[in-house]
Symmetry: C2
Subunit: 127 residues, 2 copies
DNA sequence: CTGGATCCATACGGATACTG
DNA sequence: CAGTATCCGTATGGATCCAG
């Protein structure tokens, strides 16, 4: 997709799909499902996320009204992120998705390996 | 994410999330949910997808065992794509997601506008 | 601690042209 | 019809440095 804004925004699904598009959003929301969490705590538990992407992701989620941001007025500044009420329904479905992923991941892996093997095994495939 | 393969593949969720990551996969699967479909038919109905991306997307889905590909031996070659049994559960959940997106899209839009307005409205924001 | 700003590599994705 | 191959602009995302 080009500039992502010049495109067909008549399709409502796209809005949410775009948010789900970057894996981090999903991971963050699933994590926040367990309860409110602070920036670096998220950073540690998400595993693999750079500080920049976590920041960007959280801002996007906040913009879409899916995550709330609460600044605790403390000596070392603390910021707590939490799901908004609106996000709850979405997160439930995301959890359903994750469950499917968990249980079917081995099958997907198998299929993938079979596919790859079939390719490299084919006699006429030169590459 | 870097090379997408050098990354943490210990996390099972990632595998499926990556597939869901590109919006096209979801759109294609939701379309195939209605029944088997041919290449150009998909191309027409998906709207916005380039021929290349549809091709790439379908190959990925096939590789993961989520979509089957059947070549009809006809004069003008025809290829029919369909969901595999394994994909059915996934697609159901994706449909759930799409439903949420449909019903909540206005709210997301609102939140987004409010967020943007708050930014440009803030006095101290120079940018 | 919680980020924003910048720099830079690369992978994604569109357009186009070409095959079976 | 159903793709594959190439070219090439652009957005994504990591690394690093800096600020409140």
């Amino acid at each position: 997709m080009p500039p992502r804004d010049s495109v067909n925004h008549a399709c409502p699904v796209r809005d949410v799909l775009d948010r789900i598009g970057d894996a981090w959003s999903v991971l963050v929301m699933l994590e926040l499902r367990k309860g409110p969490c602070r920036f670096n705590a998220l950073r540690r538990v998400i595993d693999g996320v750079s500080q920049r992407m976590l920041s960007v992701t959280l801002r996007h989620l906040e913009r879409d009204g899916l995550v709330s941001r609460r600044v605790l007025p403390l000596a070392p500044p603390q910021v707590e992120y939490a799901l908004t009420p609106m996000a709850l329904g979405l997160v439930e479905r995301l959890a359903q998705l994750r469950d499917w992923a968990d249980t079917h991941q081995p099958l997907v892996r198998q299929a993938r390996d079979r596919y790859d093997a079939a390719l490299s095994g084919s006699p006429e495939i030169t590459r």
